[in-house]
């Protein structure tokens, strides 16, 4: 119990990095996701294949493997180390953000794609009938509907991403899991520390869950 209370301030401080990694990855991931979802609806075969295989590969391999390839893998390639890319790839922080963004982007693209596909053709035709051009139809009609449709599944993805950031500790970042491991390395008592860390994750999941619920209610059809 003492250890739990003692470790709490350090773990809370580390939670800041976990939140930062989650929010930044989700933020960039949304754009990546929408971009590839649009490519997927493209009639151009090359664009379709790029989007299809991006999502297929990123969803078909473990996040741990992806972050290792980006951090340790690319660090072994000499011409990358000598290029401007190294400014970004040298830092574990940016490597983690890149890995998480690409990963959540792939899952989000699938969520958004299926949301776009469920849009009733009648609504789009009605919009065109009213004289809206393609851009307006997309931003004013299709995108809002798609976002609403994808909320439950996307909420799930947010929670998965939050938990996924725990892998940042494998590339030396001291996020919530990283600091928990660090405390265990000197106290040798994993149970107490992981209970506190787990509880902090649970609280954050609870917040995301209710945030999504709130949005779902707000954008409900009447």
């Amino acid at each position: 119990m003492d250890l739990m209370i003692e470790s709490l301030p350090r773990l809370l401080k580390a939670t800041k990095l976990t939140i930062e990694l989650t929010l930044l990855s989700l933020f960039f991931g949304i754009f990546v996701g929408i971009f590839f979802a649009i490519l997927r609806t493209s009639k151009n075969k090359i664009l379709f294949f790029i989007s299809y295989y991006y999502s297929y590969i990123l969803r078909g391999t473990p996040l741990l493997v992806q972050i290792f390839i980006i951090y340790f893998g690319l660090g072994q390639v000499e011409w990358i180390r000598e290029s401007f890319l190294w400014i970004v790839l040298k830092e574990p922080y940016s490597c983690a953000i890149i890995a998480f963004t690409l990963n959540t982007g792939a899952y989000s693209s699938e969520i958004f794609r299926s949301a776009f596909e469920t849009i009733n053709k009648g609504i789009v035709e009605a919009a065109e009938g009213l004289g809206l051009n393609k851009v307006n139809t997309f931003f004013k009609i299709k995108l809002p509907i798609a976002i609403k449709q994808s909320l439950p599944a996307y909420g799930n993805e947010m929670i998965l991403m939050l938990k996924g950031t725990s892998l940042a500790s494998t590339v030396t970042l001291l996020d919530l899991t990283g600091v928990a491991k660090h405390i265990i390395s000197t106290t040798f008592r994993p149970v107490e520390v992981f209970i506190v860390a787990g509880s902090i994750y649970l609280i954050m999941t609870f917040i995301i869950h209710n945030f999504i619920k709130f949005l779902e209610k707000k954008y409900k059809y009447n």
């Binding site: 340790f72 072994q76 574990p92 265990i184 040798f188």
Partner: protein, 276 residues
């Protein structure tokens, strides 16, 4: 009915005796398999190294049936306490901090720690003595630490997590360097070679072994370290309540030292006699 019941009882009793007698002579030893030349794995995944061979010898001497259990370094002591294995032989130094949680047998080998950098680093050519002992070094050690503090200011140094090397860097003896912790020594070596960290701290042999096998220009700099936060040699980690096992290991190690077995194995794996 009564007979069947009796049969059950007696078979349970027999089973109990079987299990307890099997337990008495079987020892599970936890090791990492990722810290050459102490313990490592060959290409087929088989455990090899100084401690693997030493463990085999000690077990034959103790007439025990031993199994080696692989365990990630950062869970090594928790794993012992949770009875995943009964002893640790994983290049683990005997330190006061660890002694609060577990017992150690007498040390069987010792080797010094050192900083390593890539060739051409500004840290090369530091003006320090060849070796310092933090317990007995006195003024000499203090002077060397001062030189190191100045040279390492603002530098990022990589270490394996939960090691004496991490403890030393975080003790403030060399000022407030930026410490980056890795799960394995392999990862420390990779990031040192990639240039993500300015220097790394580990057992000196861990670097010379890596330089030799990878062909990368990794060089040792500064003094070699011993004593103080670096502990008093490497021993077998055993649970506090397992005093019998501790005695058996101490006996076996004593014999292995006297008959030269430890020296022989240490010379084979380290290239010099690291026994103690």
């Amino acid at each position: 009915m009564k007979n069947i019941f009796k049969f059950f009882l007696s078979s349970i009793a027999a089973l109990g005796i079987l299990i307890s007698s099997a337990q008495a002579d079987s020892i599970r030893i936890g090791t990492e398999g990722a810290y050459p030349p102490w313990n490592a794995k060959d290409e087929s995944g088989k455990l090899i190294g100084f401690e693997v061979e030493l463990a085999n010898w000690l077990c034959i001497y103790m007439k025990a049936d031993c199994t080696l259990v692989e365990q990630d370094w950062d869970g090594m002591i928790p794993g012992l306490i949770m009875r995943k294995y009964d002893a640790i032989m994983a290049g683990m130094s005997i330190t006061d901090e660890r002694m609060k949680t577990i017992n150690f047998s007498q040390g069987y080998a010792d080797e010094v720690a050192s900083l390593a950098v890539m060739k051409g680093s500004p840290l090369e050519g530091m003006d320090t003595p060849k070796a310092i002992n933090l317990s007995t070094g006195g003024g000499n050690a203090k002077k060397a630490l001062k030189t190191l503090t100045a040279a390492l200011a603002g530098k990022t140094i990589g270490v394996q997590t939960a090691t004496i090397h991490q403890n030393f860097l975080e003790s403030g003896d060399v000022g407030s360097v930026k410490v980056r912790t890795y799960k394995t020594q392999d990862e420390v070596n990779l990031d040192l070679a990639a240039g993500r960290i300015d220097a790394a701290l580990a057992a000196a042999v861990a670097f010379t072994d890596y330089a030799e096998k990878s062909g990368k220009p990794v060089v040792l700099v500064g003094p070699t370290f011993s004593g103080g936060a670096f502990g008093n040699g490497v021993g077998v980690g055993i649970r506090k309540d397992d005093t019998d096992l501790l005695k058996r290991f101490n006996n076996a190690i004593n014999t292995a030292r006297k008959n030269g077995k430890i020296s022989e194995l240490a010379t084979k794996w380290f290239g010099f006699d690291a026994s103690m």
